[in-house]
């Protein structure tokens, strides 16, 4: 009898980290290119921690959270009542509005910031190409890389939309609120996400409905090549080894019998799925850091996001349950952001301005 063991190698972890890193970098670059014009609420930087419209920030965050909770709950209710068409319709509408409508406005901003003259017909044409291909590749068939690219674009555009339109400290308040919501929704027994995972596993439904129950589209992204290409990274590594006890296989290949072993154990590469909301909020945080802080703080937040995710994902894979991936990395990143304003950046500047190695 062949046992199947699931392993999660470093390569799997990296395949999740690369899209997160790329999404964050894309949002940071976009944000630093199109700096918003000086509005009536100037963003106050360096160590002055009061905002001009904190109450407004609170209201906006409350609205955002209500919207999020509502869409999540409605999505779970539709899933339970098997109203798949409703979910699909909502998802398609969401991605169309992001990839077509908001992309148009965002590229308009970009062109303005870089002083590129674009006529209306050509920009409409280009947006239609971009958005049309995006909607096709997300909801129909496409090459795996294209699908992943458009998922990343979806998250990036959502983050850019939020960054442009939220007032001063709303980003931080909403990050705190959504971390709490994430913990509540995934871990507590009455949380909608937990119910969704349980219902899906009870029904044996391996593929969740493609994009789900959240204004920022919790997309389950199959991050590894599970069906089309059998784990070629592992295979290329094994081709050098003469002592490998286990060769990679999928269900259609029979495992060659290894001489010294009496029982075949197949190791199958596990896949890790990361929700799209996580992408959005990591990028939101990094975009906010890019708007308000020097480059070293951005780097510190980027690195702490990645390391937080690196710590969370093996815990997820070891415990074989769904865990919230949002609060821990954001916590470390927030720690670095605030302490960087107060302590890190002044200290580093003191050393590097006088060319003293530390």
């Amino acid at each position: 009898m062949v046992r199947t063991r699931r392993v999660y190698s470093g390569a799997t972890l990296l395949r999740v980290l690369y899209p997160v890193a790329l999404c964050m970098i894309f949002v940071a670059i976009n944000v630093s290119i199109c700096r918003p014009p000086i509005t009536k609420t100037p963003k106050v930087i360096y160590g002055v921690f009061h905002s001009y419209d904190t109450e407004e920030s609170g209201h906006v965050t409350l609205l955002l959270m209500i919207f999020l909770v509502l869409t999540t709950t409605m999505g779970v209710v539709c899933y339970k009542k098997r109203l798949y068409k409703a979910i699909t319709a909502y998802i398609i509408a969401n991605s169309i509005s992001l990839l077509l409508v908001y992309a148009f406005f965002h590229f308009h901003n970009l062109a303005q910031a870089c002083s590129i003259p674009m006529s209306v017909p050509s920009s409409v044409f280009l947006t239609f190409q971009f958005g049309g291909l995006g909607v096709l590749s997300l909801h129909w068939k496409a090459h795996r890389r294209l699908h992943q690219f458009y998922l990343v674009m979806l998250a990036a555009l959502t983050a850019l939309f939020l960054l442009k339109n939220l007032p001063d400290w709303t980003v931080w308040i909403s990050i705190v609120a959504i971390s709490i919501w994430d913990i509540v929704a995934v871990l507590t027994p009455c949380g909608p996400l937990k119910m969704l995972v349980e219902t899906a596993s009870r029904r044996g439904d391996n593929n969740f409905p493609a994009i789900l129950y959240n204004s920022s589209s919790y997309v389950e992204t199959p991050e590894t090549p599970d069906t089309t290409r059998p784990h070629s990274t592992q295979l290329t590594e094994f081709s050098n080894s003469s002592n490998a006890n286990l060769l990679q296989s999928d269900s259609l290949l029979t495992t060659p019998v290894i001489p010294r072993r009496t029982r075949e154990v197949r190791e199958v590469e596990g896949t890790i799925r990361l929700g799209m909301g996580d992408f959005v909020f990591y990028s939101l945080m990094l975009g906010n850091a890019a708007q308000t802080s020097p480059l070293t703080t951005v780097l510190a937040c980027f690195l702490s996001n990645l390391v937080g995710l690196t710590i969370t994902l093996p815990v997820v894979s070891l415990s074989q349950t769904a865990l919230p991936a949002l609060p821990f990395p954001l916590l470390i990143a927030a720690l670095f952001y605030f302490s960087s304003h107060v302590a890190l950046t002044p200290f580093t500047n003191l050393c590097s301005l006088t060319l003293i190695l530390f």
């Binding site: 199947t4 470093g10 006890n245 269900s251 259609l252 480059l295 670095f336």
Partner: protein
């Protein structure tokens, strides 16, 4: 001139690290993750030391040198902490070797592939590879410290203005005690120094940590690392008085001594070190690397054409086992 200067400064400062990364780290996912963890440990030590600076500066009037010392001690402590973390991870890995052990004795580790062999000869699983791991961690720390040192300065270079011009305009002559137009070069050299120094220091400190239980004289490499770190840092405080050439020459000399010491730690002798340097110059001159690369590609295509059935073709069909799903949600 602005953005070109910035890009060229980045290329110049990080080309040693890119070369080291590409040859030793890029092909192995576990090493990439360890690289990022090394950067993170350095960041944490910088955080602690800058908070200490903040605290000290409210109490004492002139705290810069003290906090610099605290910063250096914190960095070395974070190196030791990373070593202890890796040691604990290795214990959970179990004491496995290349050729045997069924996978279930690997304990809680499900992260590395069993029997994963990397391209560098003689260096494979985590257990046997402590100098390679030290290189990875040191490179992580070096890259992040060089980035933190130079990022703000390079971003300012991209803006308007000419470096060193205002002072010369005011006084009418070029003051030799100011970096002036050589300021980018100073930053680049400091970044290169930081990267390579961290690699060397990590190898030395981890050698101490590894052997400290068994030999009482094993503290020498670690002490040498701490002493040279303090020496180099306090020497660089002479930079602001204008003795750039002297400071950089001495620092590069110390770097060379540290690298030779690391070579001795890893098993070579001074003679073999000098021979290796000479050989690498000869290889660079005769373009041996490029010739090897071309020959390797030729051999690989020949091999691939010789194998009739490709194990790496695309296979359709899903792995349809409804009970066991391979996916885990985060």
């Amino acid at each position: 001139m602005g953005i070109v200067l910035t890009v060229s400064c980045y290329i110049a400062s990080f080309s040693p690290s890119i070369a080291l990364f590409y040859s030793f780290i890029a092909h192995d996912p576990v090493r990439i993750i360890l690289f990022f963890l090394g950067s993170f440990f350095w960041l944490v030590s910088l955080l602690i030391s800058s908070l200490a600076w903040l605290g000290l500066s409210t109490v004492l009037p002139n705290t810069f040198l003290i906090s610099l010392g605290v910063c250096i001690v914190a960095q070395e402590l974070s190196r030791v902490a990373y070593f202890m973390l890796l040691k604990k991870a290795q214990k959970k890995l179990g004491n496995f070797r290349l050729d045997l052990n069924p996978p279930f004795s690997r304990g809680l580790n499900k992260i590395t592939r069993h029997g994963q062999i990397s391209v560098a000869p003689g260096v494979s699983d985590l257990h046997n590879a402590r100098h390679m791991l030290a290189l990875v961690c040191g490179l992580g720390m070096g890259v992040i410290s060089a980035l933190f040192y130079t990022m703000n300065a390079f971003a300012t270079f991209a803006g308007p203005g000419t470096i060193g011009l205002p002072m010369a305009l005011e006084t009418g002559h070029i003051d030799s005690n100011r970096a002036g137009k050589y300021l980018p070069l100073c930053y680049v050299l400091s970044a290169i120094l930081l990267t390579l120094f961290h690699v060397a220091w990590t190898i030395m400190v981890w050698d101490t940590c590894h052997k400290i239980g068994r030999f009482p004289t094993a503290f020498v490499p670690g002490a040498a690392a701490v002493v040279s770190h303090l020496f180099v840092a306090f020497l660089s405080s002479l930079n602001s008085r204008g003795f750039y050439i002297l400071v950089f020459s001495v620092q590069f000399l110390v770097l060379l001594i540290c690298i030779a010491y690391c070579n001795v730690i890893m098993g070579g002798t001074i003679q073999s070190f000098v021979t290796a340097i000479g050989q690498s110059f000869v290889d660079a001159f005769t373009l041996k690397q490029i010739r090897n690369f071309v020959e390797e590609r030729k051999m690989r295509t020949q091999q691939r054409q010789a194998v009739p059935d490709e194990p790496m073709t695309e296979r359709g069909g899903a792995s349809d086992e409804p009970g066991t799903s391979n996916t885990v949600d985060a």
